[in-house]
């Protein structure tokens, strides 16, 4: 493996470790901070004056839509990287051939 690849793998491992270590070693309810802020606001006696135009009917549907958001983003990102990579390879191949012709 080249040095650059090793660095990339280490970066990926570090990112995953930052996500995994809390769940494995820190007890907690892992409630969302957005929700916690909402509770802190409600504790002041504030009543929201507007409700969402549409709410996912259940937690399952909600996490499904979140998954769709992530999947759409990851799909586009992967497509772009794939196209760029192919384009680059073709360009390098052309440049490698050029001196010979």
């Amino acid at each position: 493996m080249s040095r650059s690849t090793v660095t990339n793998v280490l970066l990926a491992v570090a990112v995953l470790a930052l996500f995994a270590i809390p769940v494995l070693f820190v007890p907690g309810e892992y409630a969302g901070s957005d929700g916690q802020a909402g509770e802190a606001i409600e504790a002041t006696g504030y009543q929201p004056w507007f409700t969402p135009v549409w709410e996912p009917p259940s937690g399952e549907i909600e996490s499904g839509i979140f998954a769709m958001q992530a999947a759409a983003g990851a799909g586009v990102l992967g497509y772009c990287i794939g196209v760029a990579r192919t384009r680059r390879r073709a360009q390098l191949a052309r440049e490698a051939d050029a001196p010979r012709t």
Binding site: I21, P22, Y30, G32, A70, L77, R88
Partner: protein
């Protein structure tokens, strides 16, 4: 950083919408101009938007025993400058407000200001500063993504503190309350977002060096088409 629907008093909600709107309109024009003037970088633009789309969908656990999500706006701010992210970030927030009841339409202005405007601008500032000080691309991108992420949550805390000052300790006390909910949770996530953004940029440097040079991210000359000088070496890596 999503302030929920109806959780900002009407006056605050309206004020943040007025503040954010010009940035978003300017951002929309910046996107149109970029696509028209330099169609070759559209692919990278889509990648930057997609990156924000993915990252802001992921609720990630933090060492505080709570969870939150990264913003992913640092990448686009570094590659395309902040105005572009004002539009892309707002599109993400709008999607989540309408389809997920996450954030809201009344709070869209405030949320856009923190995630799509303030975060990207601080990210870009950090990037430029590190580069000016002689830092290389990696550390500059890390600083951008890390600070952009953290700034977004700090701004959210400030917005809530302004709307809900503590009866005894005032706006300052309320800021401490909200910042302790948001910002502490966010630090490890901001580190993770920084590292992930560096990883993506390293990948892009390999596969889109010409585009990055045109965007000014890679300096002209430095690593310029190494293929032209030594095709075998480049092809073997």
């Amino acid at each position: 950083m999503h302030i929920a629907e109806g959780y900002l008093p009407p006056l605050h909600a309206a004020a943040w919408t007025v503040v954010a709107a010009p940035f978003v309109v300017h951002g929309a024009r910046a996107v149109v101009r970029r696509v028209r003037e330099d169609p070759d970088t559209t692919l990278l633009l889509a990648a930057a938007g997609a990156f924000t789309f993915v990252l802001s969908a992921l609720k990630i656990p933090s060492v505080t025993g709570s969870s939150s999500h990264p913003t992913g706006t640092g990448l686009g701010a570094v590659l395309f400058r902040p105005p572009v992210m004002a539009l892309l970030g707002t599109v993400v927030l709008f999607f989540q407000a309408v389809l997920l009841a996450h954030g809201g339409l009344t709070t869209l202005g405030a949320n856009a200001f923190s995630m799509a405007i303030a975060g990207p601008w601080i990210a870009y500032g950090a990037y430029v500063l590190v580069r000016r000080l002689g830092g290389s691309l990696g550390p500059a991108v890390f600083a951008a993504a890390f600070l952009g992420d953290l700034t977004t949550y700090t701004i959210t805390s400030a917005q809530l503190a302004l709307a809900f000052p503590d009866p005894t300790s005032g706006v300052g006390g309320a800021f401490v309350t909200f910042a302790s909910i948001f910002s502490i949770t966010q630090i490890p996530l901001a580190v993770a977002e920084g590292l992930l953004t560096v990883l993506v940029v390293r990948l892009l440097v390999r596969i889109t060096p010409d585009e990055l040079r045109r965007l000014g991210v890679l300096r002209p000359g430095r690593g310029a088409t190494p293929a032209a000088q030594d095709p075998q070496k480049e092809a073997s890596t």
